[in-house]
């Protein structure tokens, strides 16, 4: 492993985010606050409790997941798309580093950034509702795995995209609907049986459920199933990246 190169890539990516540090911090604070005002206060006043947890506290893990997913995908996809688009990728491709070192640099930076934003959102949420974390270690593990997995997915999208439209397409058409339908704002046993079954096909359900379990010990599916599913997604993402590199897909002609 060429540590100096990986460190350089990682820090350069982090520095790029730092140039827009204000909007990086403002956006999670603002969106979390909005969700709390709209869902926590407005709807929460009608729905008092879900599974023994106040509605405001119930939606916290889902909101953090929502932020983590969207930020991971957008950071990572932009991070690799931008040098491809501007042509500066030539330097990375001609450097004495392996593809996996490139991944560690780019995906590591994207995941770090979304983790930082996730923590900021958690702190913001605390201003609105008191919540507890029953299994902090598992919570951190879920956060980490999700950030890495979806940063990998973003990386893949950034390599696949041939224009800014495509870069937006997958997040818009796939990630956002899945997260909204992923049990962030409701427990899936509030749905009719048929929709419960359909929902179980949504991978985000497992993430939100497992993450919520690490907070309150309640979950839609067993936390072990959640963990297994995340590891499955991670494995799939790694396999896809490996395929991209083996074929040189969209990086080298």
């Amino acid at each position: 492993m060429n540590l100096e190169s990986v460190k350089t890539l990682y820090l350069a990516e982090m520095a790029r985010s730092l140039r827009t540090v204000l909007q990086s911090i403002v956006s999670p604070v603002l969106s979390t606050s909005l969700y709390f005002v709209v869902f926590g206060a407005a709807i929460g006043s009608r729905i008092s409790e879900v599974d023994g947890v106040s509605y405001g506290a119930f939606i916290v893990p889902g909101l953090i997941m929502l932020m983590l997913l969207t930020q991971s995908v957008s950071n990572a996809s932009f991070g690799i798309f931008f040098p491809r688009f501007s042509g500066t990728i030539y330097e990375v491709l001609s450097a004495p580093i392996s593809y996996w070192e490139v991944v560690v640099g780019y995906v590591g930076a994207a995941a770090s950034k979304s983790l930082i934003l996730g923590v900021i959102a958690l702190i913001t949420a605390r201003l609105f509702v008191p919540y507890s974390i029953e299994h902090p270690l598992m919570m951190v593990l879920f956060l980490l795995l999700t950030a890495v997995t979806f940063s990998l997915l973003g990386f893949i999208i950034g390599i696949w995209a041939e224009g800014f439209e495509r870069l937006q397409l997958v997040p818009l058409l796939v990630i956002t609907p899945l997260t909204f339908l992923g049990g962030t704002f409701y427990s899936i046993d509030m749905l009719p049986p048929f929709w419960q079954a359909v929902t179980l096909a949504n991978p985000v359900v497992y993430l939100v459920s497992g993450f919520r379990w690490s907070f309150y010990g309640i979950s839609d599916v067993s936390p072990l199933v959640s963990l297994a599913m995340i590891l499955l997604f991670l494995g799939a993402a790694i396999a896809l990246v490996a395929w991209i590199f083996r074929t040189g897909y969209r990086l080298k002609s």
Binding site: A12, S86, G87, T88, Y90, S94, A95, P96, I97, K252
Partner: protein, 303 residues
């Protein structure tokens, strides 16, 4: 220093950009790759630097295979691309420092300062790239390529878009680099530039290396006022395209003799540049490697 063996590149659409290139670059020389637009200069450089996968053949850099031992091979190479590509908002200093780190070298501000000064960029070190002129941006790309102290430097059309004064400066920088032991491969469209700069010149046309010649030998032969071009396949008559050059066919169609008038030289002097341009000719679109190989040999004895 670099050995290219039987290198071929066919792009995904089936376009054959490089045909069986064999080339040896010597340690410490300045090698000019001369050829018209679309000849394959950038493609050849890209394959050597690992930006494009070769379809056939291989490249050894200082003895290391550039695919299987890419770390050793690439660590020795600095590349200045033809296109001015950069992150508009990054500062010059950060950009050059990034390049060094990317190649796995520990930070060395003194070296980066030296590089920036040698390229007259020191005053601009805190400028963002977007505030620089085109010529300055090109020099930043050179600085980035030199940041990791490469033994080999590729310059893809270094003087494109550079004014005459700066061009002289740039040639001077290149010479200094050569004097410090760096092997330099540059591409150009102009034989004058190749003559001015290079120790050896390779002419590439439609993906084929049609000639590799020592500049000194070339000039000496030019001094004899007679240039003999040996042909691989014999010709019956001087081709139409070359009729304006006063060529004669000898050795039963196996050689073309070009006699030029050194005294009459108005603009170009020898007319060699025009002759080469016509020899290169327009690329034939449906060419394949084996069928329509250029009729002249590519060994240095060909002249």
């Amino acid at each position: 220093m670099i050995r290219v063996e039987g290198l071929g590149k066919t792009f995904a659409g089936g376009f054959e950009a490089l045909c069986d290139i064999d080339l040896e670059i010597r340690r410490g020389e300045i090698f000019a790759l001369l050829g018209p637009n679309g000849a394959g200069k950038t493609t050849l450089i890209s394959v050597i630097c690992g930006l494009v996968n070769p379809s056939r053949g291989r490249v050894l850099v200082d003895g290391y295979d550039n695919v299987r031992q890419f770390r050793e091979a690439r660590a020795r190479i600095g590349l200045v691309p033809q296109e001015l590509t950069n992150d508009a908002f990054i500062k010059v200093w950060d950009s050059v420092r990034f390049s060094r780190g990317l190649f796995g070298k520990p930070p060395d501000p003194a070296h980066i300062e030296k590089v920036l000064r040698s390229l007259s960029l020191w005053e601009k070190r805190n400028n963002r790239m977007i505030t620089l002129s085109g010529g300055m941006k090109r020099r930043v790309l050179i600085a980035k390529a030199l940041a990791h102290e490469p033994e080999i430097l590729f310059l893809d059309e270094p003087t494109a878009g550079v004014d005459v004064a700066l061009r002289r400066d740039m040639w001077e920088v290149v010479r200094q680099l050569r004097n410090s032991g760096v092997t330099i491969i540059l591409t150009t469209h102009y034989i004058e530039e190749a003559e001015e700069m290079a120790d050896r010149i390779g002419v590439i046309r439609s993906g084929e290396l049609v000639l590799v010649e020592d500049k000194q030998a070339l000039m000496q032969k030019l001094g004899r006022k007679e240039l003999t071009i040996h042909l691989r396949d014999p010709l019956h008559a001087v081709p139409q395209r070359l009729s304006g050059h006063g060529l004669t066919l000898t050795e039963e169609g196996h050689a073309l003799v070009y006699t030029y008038d050194a005294e009459a030289g108005e603009d170009d002097g020898t007319g060699i540049a025009e002759l080469l341009a016509d020899l290169e000719g327009p690329a034939s679109p449906s060419r394949t490697c084996t069928l329509a190989r250029a009729p002249w040999r590519r060994s240095s004895s060909a002249w």
